[in-house]
Symmetry: D2
Subunit: 88 residues, 4 copies
């Protein structure tokens, strides 16, 4: 009287506990990370900029450049009322 997997209670419990364990470790590390940011803030660094630095360094330079190029292109296109008609 059970479904396809209803019986492996021990296995399921083990799995759940292992997941909870990893998640706890992740939580601890996230705490540590947060404290590094606080320390940086205390040292006078701009957290918003700091986050962007970390984010940018994660991307490989190629993508970063391509992104920057496209961004400039888009920004210009949005800015100008009508690139072609403006001609001169």
């Amino acid at each position: 009287m059970s479904g396809p997997e209803g019986i492996q209670g021990d296995q399921l419990r083990t799995i759940v506990e292992r997941i909870e364990h990893v998640e706890e470790e992740i939580r601890d590390l996230s705490e540590a990370k947060k404290e590094i940011f606080l320390e940086a803030k205390g040292a006078g660094f701009d957290l918003k900029v700091l986050r962007e630095v970390v984010r940018l360094r994660k991307q490989d330079p190629e993508d970063r450049d391509e992104h920057a190029t496209l961004l400039e292109l888009y920004m210009d296109a949005v800015r100008a009322p009508s690139p072609k008609a403006k001609a001169a």
Copy 2:
């Protein structure tokens, strides 16, 4: 002489403006929502609990029916140290 989409400046600008328009409407509604909360606070209601009420009412119609059966099965399996052994 341009990338795949470099030319459609007008189209891009239209898109950006439409996005900005929707976002503005969303911002206005968020303001309205905030004022309702303020009004509730003025009437003596606990905002924290009020938020929880709204959140709970959002969930109820959803899950509580779908995989409720399987969920209960799993929860029981995880809770009990050893379903079989407990037996008698």
Copy 3:
């Protein structure tokens, strides 16, 4: 027979319903926004870049420039092993 505000059930219900109503409108607008992005994607635009365009246009130019300056400063500082030693 009730707490400080236990009685105003009608008022509370009205408040909750108003909140739910605004939230529904917000949800609809968010849907609309998402569809604009999908349309942009279909037209060949890079969504990631598009999002950044929208985000940048939200900040006033002053902050944007200051952020950009600091960012460059930080990136350089992180990149160079020892700025001072670089001397000349």
Copy 4:
């Protein structure tokens, strides 16, 4: 000869590296977590339900005690069309 924090390049670099290090550890743990889920899937468990189990177990110890009373009061008030008419 610089802004408020322009000089501490070494300090900034140390901070960034420490952040990147923690993030790498977090990434590894996330990988491990993902593999546990894959293993569970291989054993025939429903991942969607499994995730819900983990989530529910996270919430239980928390709220269910704190403002449970007020919450119940509010929920009842919202549910019932007219609390006073409760009569009997």
